[in-house]
């Protein structure tokens, strides 16, 4: 099947609304429902009969049974339970973790089950993909999903996991501001410097881009993944509660949700009118009129907008540009529809923002174009993005040592050499973090692992090389190698936040069991899970016992691993994947035998045959 007969799609997985789009005949088309609406509210409803509903219908059910509906799940992607509790009360019921592993993610309580933000997002993705499939029943091609530019590695991984749970393997992540610039740029094609101010329901991003001769290059990016229109709703909600004489702590999540919905309705009204009002029904039966005008709204929004201003100024500094150098400003996200926001940006950057594309749809359209470009190899446009946050490790003393600085163009890699603090130190404790602060405790923790088996040396003599590789989607892989010994040690990376790979795989299998999927899809998914596991196991074995193989044998096995990896990415038929799996299994059988023999010998003679005394 040629690539042009597969549909490449772009998905804007938003905090409040999500969209899907694709490119036909050079222009983007938005996926719509029967009523012609392109926005899918990012709401998921878990009915007590086991059905899962997404979108407007979920919203409707949510008004009847609020405790079964989840809103704004994106704000909780990649967060730990403790961080979620600190988020503004959005009417969510959080399930208390029962052990340490569970506390690494957020779990929502929807009555008879607990769901993670990843699973909720997966449901939304499934719905969007269905929309894209319908019009002409084309096979699904490459999928581009947008993320806030300022999402850290764990949040990006969580988005990837959600895609995997939804059955999507060929996925690329794209930063939202870059997507918006792409949507605008393709139409306008004027070289210059642009700023994208993206204020959505839950996140804020600012990116400074340079467009030159068909190349979009991000110069700098900044943002806040816990700042958005939801916070304005909360501020208005506070006023409503005051008028009602209630305090937020005493209300249950359902009531909070109702208040927030009213707040949002008022906010929307004020986009078109200068005053808005609703009737409040008090407990004693009396009714009062609650009024809000644009001026009051502006005052409520101001602290939030000031925070975005600080981030914008820093992004301009990082890009080495001043506001007057900008050729255009692009507004993205429903919240920028508010007149006070548009005014604020105009004053901040000294020019009227570009109009022309619906701020709700522009990101999805940009994603669709990118998906089309990547799949069908159109030669017109190229996107070059950057790393939004510095990446590094924790060093002795609790300091944060940067290995890759923020706004470095991606893909990128860095290698730094460290040493030991004490004589005969036997292991390194490596804590990987993201952030801009001096102390590790103030940065975002990504993963922790221990590198064991360092040969005994005086303090300061050992040499540890830590390598970071960041791909185009902004995702990080870490390698740690002890240089003075000939042995490469195996490293176990435990994510400090979010779902581990095994947890995601387990969810995928569970989902299969619960859904009515056809047999072929089930087989394909199962083989994918097995393939990933086998690749891990073989790589680990190679790292530790490769001396048991000749160079030729090792090369053969590595090639087999590569083939299986490629198969994982592109196989659409379970049979192909099954064959590749079997191939690798038989390739590695003799290797396994030798490893088992060595292990037995170890036990018998009490010596690690890799050369270390036990």
């Amino acid at each position: 099947m040629t690539s042009s007969s597969r549909r490449a799609i772009g998905i804007d997985l938003g905090t409040t609304n999500s969209l899907v789009a694709w490119v036909t005949d050079g222009h983007s088309v938005l996926g719509t429902d029967d009523a012609g609406s392109s926005l899918v509210p990012s709401v998921v409803f878990y009915a007590d009969d086991g059905r899962v509903l997404v979108g407007s219908v979920a919203e409707q059910c949510g008004t009847q049974q609020p405790e079964r509906a989840i809103y704004s799940a994106k704000r909780f992607l990649g967060l730990e339970h403790s961080e979620a509790k600190a988020q503004p009360l959005l009417g969510q019921r959080l399930a208390e973790p029962s052990n340490e592993e569970e506390s690494r993610t957020v779990r929502f309580d929807v009555g008879d089950r607990k769901v993670t933000p990843t699973e909720v997002s997966a449901e939304i993705l499934r719905q969007l993909v269905e929309r894209a499939r319908q019009p002409s029943a084309l096979e699904l091609g490459l999928v581009v999903i947008t993320v806030p530019a300022y999402f850290d590695d764990t949040q990006r991984q969580a988005t990837r996991d959600a895609a995997r749970l939804a059955g999507l393997e060929q996925v690329r992540l794209l930063n939202e501001p870059t997507a918006a610039a792409l949507a605008y740029g393709l139409g306008q094609r004027t070289n210059g410097l642009y700023a994208v101010y993206d204020l959505g329901g839950g996140t804020f991003d600012i990116s400074v881009l340079c467009l030159e001769d068909g190349v979009f290059q991000v110069k700098s990016t900044g943002g806040d993944t816990a700042l958005g229109g939801d916070d304005i709703d909360k501020a208005i909600g506070g006023l409503l509660l005051q008028a009602l004489g209630f305090s937020a702590e005493l209300l249950g999540p359902a009531a909070v949700r109702t208040v927030l919905q009213q707040a949002r309705a008022l906010k929307h009204q004020l986009t078109h009118k200068t005053t808005a009002a609703i009737q409040l029904m008090h407990v004693n039966g009396t009714e009062t009129n609650f009024e809000l005008n644009r001026h009051q709204l502006k005052q409520l929004a101001y602290p939030l907008l000031e925070r975005t201003g600080k981030t914008v100024r820093r992004a301009l500094r990082d890009a080495n540009v001043q506001a007057c150098d900008l050729n255009g400003v692009i507004l993205v996200g429903g919240t920028t529809r508010m007149p006070c926001v548009a005014d604020f940006v105009r004053d901040l950057l000294g020019q009227k923002p570009l109009a022309g594309i619906d701020p709700d749809c522009v990101v999805a359209q940009g994603a669709a174009h990118q998906a089309d470009l990547l799949q069908n190899r159109s030669d017109s446009v190229l996107l070059l993005d950057v790393l939004p946050l510095s990446l590094g490790i924790e060093t002795m003393g609790g300091g944060f040592e940067r290995l890759i600085g923020r706004n470095t163009p991606v893909p990128t890699a860095a290698h730094t050499v460290f040493t030991t603090a004490a004589d005969d130190q036997t292991g390194y404790e490596i804590h990987v973090l993201q952030g801009e602060r001096e102390m590790a405790c103030n940065c975002r923790s990504l993963a922790k692992f221990v590198l064991r088996g360092i040969p005994p040396l005086p303090a300061g003599k050992a040499r540890l090389q830590v390598s970071f590789c960041v791909d185009e989607s902004g995702l990080l892989t870490v390698q740690a190698k002890e240089l003075t010994s000939a042995i490469v040690q195996v490293v176990e990376v435990r994510p400090t936040r979010g779902l581990s790979r095994t947890e995601v795989d387990r969810m995928i299998v569970e989902t299969l069991e619960n859904r009515e999927t056809d047999a072929e899809t089930r087989r394909l998914t199962e083989f994918r899970v097995h393939s990933r596991a086998l690749i891990d196991v073989v790589n680990q074995a190679l790292a530790v016992d490769s001396d048991l193989l000749t160079d030729a044998e090792a090369l053969e096995i590595r090639t087999g691993v590569q083939r299986l990896k490629k198969g994982l990415q592109s196989a659409e038929r379970s049979l192909l994947l099954e064959l590749l799996l079997e191939d690798l299994h038989s390739l590695t059988e003799p290797f396994n035998e030798r490893r088992v023999n060595r292990a037995i010998m170890q036990v018998v003679t009490g010596q690690d045959l890799r050369g270390q005394q036990q």
């Binding site: 490459l142 060929q170 690329r172 030159e212 001769d213 068909g214 190349v215 290059q217 600080k310 820093r314 470009l373 990547l374 799949q375 190899r377 159109s378 030669d379 190229l382 070059l384 470095t408 163009p409 991606v410 893909p411 990128t412 890699a413 801009e436 602060r437 001096e438 590789c469 791909d471 185009e472 490629k566 990415q569 592109s570």
Partner: protein, 173 residues
């Protein structure tokens, strides 16, 4: 072994045309992009492609900073820097760091900002001094390597100071 100058096709000298550097960087990445490769594999980049892209980005980073650019030029000429330190320089930097920490501890944003500004000005001075040590087309003398070494050391200390100052300003804002 091709170094950053070779990778980006930039004339190996200290003074570099910023816009030329950017153009070459963009053009080289554009060539490699999967959407422009006739024989490109499936959308996910291969390890080899990733390595090439990474090398181009790394070269760009190296040539963008006058400090790393100077170090690279010395390496090209087969010269190495001595690690000899100047007690006077260390003492001066100690005073400056102390002044910065003092300003931070009393939350004096404008004093911190002044420290950062003064350091940047000093960096600009040192960059100009570096330019005189790398005359167009001529080789660097051994004696010069000692002076260059001290300039580079001071630039590194200043980098750290500025980094610390800007972090503090972010917190104080």
């Amino acid at each position: 072994m091709p170094d950053a100058f070779d990778v980006l096709h930039i004339e190996p000298q200290f003074v570099v045309d910023r816009s030329e550097l950017e153009r070459h960087h963009r053009a080289l990445l554009a060539e490699l992009h999967p959407s422009r490769q006739a024989t490109a594999p499936a959308p996910a980049p291969t390890d080899a492609l990733f390595a090439k892209q990474g090398a181009i980005n790394a070269a760009y980073q190296q040539l963008s900073d006058p400090l790393t650019r100077a170090e690279l030029l010395l390496t090209r000429q087969g010269l190495s820097l001595s690690s000899a330190q100047s007690p006077e320089l260390v003492a001066r930097i100690f005073e400056q760091r102390q002044a910065l920490e003092q300003a931070v501890s009393i939350r004096d944003a404008s004093a911190v900002s002044n420290c950062v500004g003064a350091s940047r000005a000093r960096q600009a001075q040192l960059h100009s001094a570096l330019a005189t040590h790398f005359p167009q087309g001529a080789a660097v003398t051994l004696r010069q390597t000692a002076e260059i070494g001290l300039i580079l050391q001071e630039l590194r200390y200043l980098n750290k100071l500025i980094q610390r100052g800007e972090q503090a300003l972010d917190d104080l804002e």
